[in-house]
Point group: C2
Chain length 601, copies 2
């Protein structure tokens, strides 16, 4: 299956048009401002300043910002962003060493340790710079960074693949692998695919350096990748590796490697994923832990891990399409990914808990030695600020995940208002999602169409050119042969539904979440008062959609289980009727500090 | 109210007779063995051995062991224990400095820092040595340590109260205060009460040294004690301080200080106590946190804190008796305190969680940098081994909490099979508790009797000399005037009951615990299979007591909420009938590693 690239897709208005507008006009600007204020752009000049040493991963922050800009400029002009990008690119190119190497930290502060400190993100940074360069090149924005990064990639190839004289075989943080696949695609040069393949296959075959606090599993070094059957270690590192594995499996037609990816995917979605699509439940090493370990309050669930899981879904679909990949993509996208950003587009979450208690946070803030605790409001920059520009580049490229083509068949995988030419046909989607369950798909021309049926549907009804038609559903898609000018009206009968977690998820037994279409809903104390844990929802029969102050809210008849003031009592709690106001999970924490909850009695 | 001292109470057979036998024959012996093996006894000789430096609190370990031995020897002969005690006492007395000072760590390794390092437990150790000395003296076992500790107390008085030339005003770990009250009672010398009062009142009035990781609140230094209205800081330190405050309030008739103690007690039992009587919910600083913060899996709930809360209940009852003090004492005693010891009497818990998941423990054990996690089986000694000898001294003195007298009125506060002379009467209790709800109280002589009515009663029926009598209950006691030879048969109609936590306890909403008389019950996976979180108990109507392999079990009709294998599903879980086998909480973790749970759906 070949997706239609976002550069060939026009996003219409509606939900995603608005998100992209905010992304291009607010988020990318504000990240530039904060990255400039924190010295990240200045660091690209590679001028020694011992008082303001850059982090080893700052290159990747700038690279992801550049990739975001490339994705914007591919579709519209923005002289300011272009000027800033040119400046950063010039700084990087001017600082690049004659051999091709570039790293704003190592070449300035530890040149003697270039390619010697395995956990320190060097090839991770290189990978993001390569991704940015390819994006800028393909957007027709810039070729200078592209040329520079080809030189860098050639240098990496020389050192790691030909001479093998670097201090390590594989980087502690995967990313270079998937970037090399992109470079292979852009250049057509086999060596980059070979190098990606090499980095993938060599992992787990050497006793390589890891952080002092952890074991090789953290870096996915515990076994050769083909023997890895469960998702382990640092979630983002793991998923970036899996993405590259899926890429290589597809490009080389490697069924065994593809099956490994599929097994890892099933382990994640079957045992290690929050209902929001979040993965990596532990803050300790930002890792996958063990099956069904999905704590809500102290969830880690990094925004970057969610984005990475979305990428992984997309890569798997390209090998052998299954509706479940798009279903999980949709879950990750509308919940954990979107939660990463504040309503105003300026603030970001790194950590995405499914339950928040103001008291826990306040108590922890009062400690002299603080423990890990998610934060109640998004912030504009982090010391480790990987998530913000990851989000902006992803939001800008959302068009890539809507349409696809395979052997003459045209797929609609996500209902995002947009238009594109797919195969011989022109497609136009007008979608009410995520707040509504309807979509109109117009097809001009001839197309053997497959329209994905969302897993959350309350039903499916379809009209073709105004006339009711019985949808033929197979493998999660409606099949429909179109010819000429066809208007397909779809109604997936969106309605609130309870979702139950597997009985082995200790944190959720006896509780349920409420979903509305692709949205996981949550309640906040600013709407519902404190102590959401005591709220019981028996039925969704009387639930009402209300616009409220945000774009969407669901009011549900519920009850609060009231007890006496005693700490322990023989008297059962008494239910007291109330209305529970639910909002999309992604919209939480936009109205000041307060409690939040996803799973209800 | 004046309790009858355990030395004047004979414990009969039954539950407590067996516990005390095990305590005297196994636990105290085994602790001696482990303390000897770990160098604690040798350390009392104060011979420098840099390879085996003692911990600063080892004096207190030996002191509590000596106090345990004193309590045993007060009632029976044991030449071996006596010989060991004599040896330790001789070592301490021989090592004591001419000024009276003794500390096996400071005088050997840091003499220049004697009374200079406030957080380092010096006066805490002194306090426990004084308690041991008083116990040995009052048991008629030894007067050498008593004389030595009077000299030490005099030296402390001189340095801290007269010259005020020590490096701190109050010790980082309260304990000396309550010990000085005991010394005052034993010697009649006012100076010790004055010194206790001084240490209490000066706390929070100086900006004294605390550990780097925390604030003054950890040491209860955040305010003068009379202004402390909520239980804060390190739970054991806090409770040891409150005990002394209650002692001084009583001895000096200080109503304000007594009210402060009462306020602190209400804060604890109303907002900060586990159903097991555990306090100090956080491992981070072993502290009280905030109201209703009572996590089950990562509960700290130190055994010493439970013992301290029991002591505090007793001290409050002496000021102005209320049935609630004995009710909480009973809850603490039969649950958190007894859980501290293994069935064989050799192993001990420091931390007492209310829920245990083997998978969490195993995962954590597999980490290179481990996080805090309670352990699944009791161990014979800890690096910080405060709990084991605290438990043995307490179990041995349990007789002190049964009977009391006040203004000619005779109180029975705990139904423990025993006999004692109280006022002018001889009392004998034969009790089925904790596994049964009946007790026979025989009174020979004249007594204005008050028999406590347990809060857990299903009802009360009473026979006096074989004839049904209507109990006159007031303030939690049955009042009964006895004259001659009176046999009172009580039946508190023990039955299993659901207990519900306050709606603000997030961890327990929608769940209930099962109590049987004074016992909180729990389920273990070895009886019930894994995943106890999915077990729902709707009613206790069909519950049956079964002897099983332990002395007590309760079999309850229940259901498991079964789900499909999917991680998330729109299908509600399906209840599957099962029998839930419950055992006393204190008896958990005696049959190998496994899951345990107190709160059920």
């Amino acid at each position: 299956m070949q997706p239609i690239d976002f550069k060939d897709v026009t996003i219409g208005g509606g939900f995603w048009g608005e998100l992209q507008r905010k992304n291009a006009e607010v988020s990318v600007y504000n990240i530039h401002k904060r990255f400039a204020e924190t010295g990240r752009f200045r660091a690209m000049k590679c001028i020694r300043d011992d008082a303001h040493k850059p982090h080893v991963f700052w290159d990747s922050d700038i690279a992801k910002w550049l990739e975001s800009v490339a994705n914007i400029l591919a579709k519209k002009e923005d002289p300011q962003l272009k000027a800033w990008a040119d400046e950063a690119i010039a700084d990087i190119c001017n600082s690049q060493l004659p051999c091709g190497y570039f790293n704003c930290y190592f070449q300035v502060y530890e040149p003697e340790n270039i390619f010697r400190k395995r956990p320190e993100h060097e090839l991770y940074c290189a990978g993001h710079l390569i991704e940015a360069a390819v994006a800028l090149h393909e957007a027709g924005v810039d070729d200078k960074l592209y040329a520079a990064m080809i030189r860098y990639a050639d240098y990496i190839y020389e050192r790691f693949y030909v001479k093998k004289d670097a201090g390590f075989v594989t980087c502690g943080h995967p990313e270079i692998e998937l970037a090399l696949v992109k470079l292979y695609r852009a250049t057509g040069a086999q060596k980059y695919l070979d190098l990606a393949d090499f980095f993938i296959e060599e992992r787990g075959r050497h006793n390589e350096e890891t952080y002092a606090f952890t074991y090789p599993v953290y870096h996915l070094d515990h076994a050769p990748v083909r023997e890895q059957k469960t998702a382990e270690g640092h979630a983002v590192r793991a998923l970036y590796l899996y993405i590259a594995m899926a890429d290589v499996a597809r490009l080389k037609g490697d069924r065994e490697l593809a099956d490994t990816c599929e097994t890892l995917f099933e382990d994640i979605i079957g045992k290690k994923m929050y209902i929001t699509g979040g993965t990596g439940s532990s803050y300790h090493g930002e890792t996958f832990t063990f099956a069904y370990d999905l704590p809500n309050i102290f969830a880690y669930s990094e925004t970057c891990a969610a984005i990475a899981l979305a990428f992984f879904c997309d890569r798997l679909a390209r090998i052998r399409n299954r509706a479940v990949y798009h279903e999980i993509f949709e879950r990750v996208l509308y919940n954990n990914v979107l939660a990463g950003e504040s309503r105003d587009g300026k603030g970001f979450f790194y950590v995405n808990p499914l339950e928040f208690h103001e008291n826990i946070y306040d108590y922890n803030e009062g400690l002299k030695t603080k423990l890990f605790c998610p934060i109640p409001e998004r912030v504009e920059v982090f010391d480790c600020s990987c998530c913000p520009p990851n989000l902006t580049r992803f939001i800008e490229s959302i068009g890539s995940y809507i349409y696809a083509e395979e052997g003459g068949t045209v797929y609609v995988n996500q209902y995002i208002s947009s238009s594109a030419r797919v195969g011989g046909a022109q497609l136009l989607i007008e979608s009410a999602m995520p707040y509504g369950g309807t979509a109109r798909v117009r097809v001009q021309g001839k197309a053997d169409l497959r329209l994905r049926v969302p897993a959350w549907r309350g039903g499916v009804s379809m009209k073709v050119n105004g006339r009711r038609a019985e949808p033929q559903i197979a493998d999660g898609y409606i099949a429909l042969a179109c010819d000429g000018d066809t208007a397909i009206d779809l109604d997936f009968r969106i309605r609130p539904r309870f979702v139950y977690a597997n009985e082995n998820v200790w944190y959720d037994n006896g509780r349920k979440a409420v979903e509305y279409g692709p949205l996981v809903l949550c309640a906040e104390s600013c709407d519902n008062g404190p102590n959401l844990r005591a709220v019981r929802v028996r039925s969704l029969a009387g639930a009402k959609v209300s616009a409220g102050e945000g774009p969407f809210a669901l009011e549900v008849p519920a009850e609060r289980l009231r007890t006496s003031a005693a700490l322990y009592s023989y008297e059962p709690p008494v239910p007291e009727r109330c209305t529970l106001k639910l909002i999309p999970y992604f919209a939480w924490a936009n109205r000041g500090k307060g409690d939040m909850q996803v799973w209800f009695l």
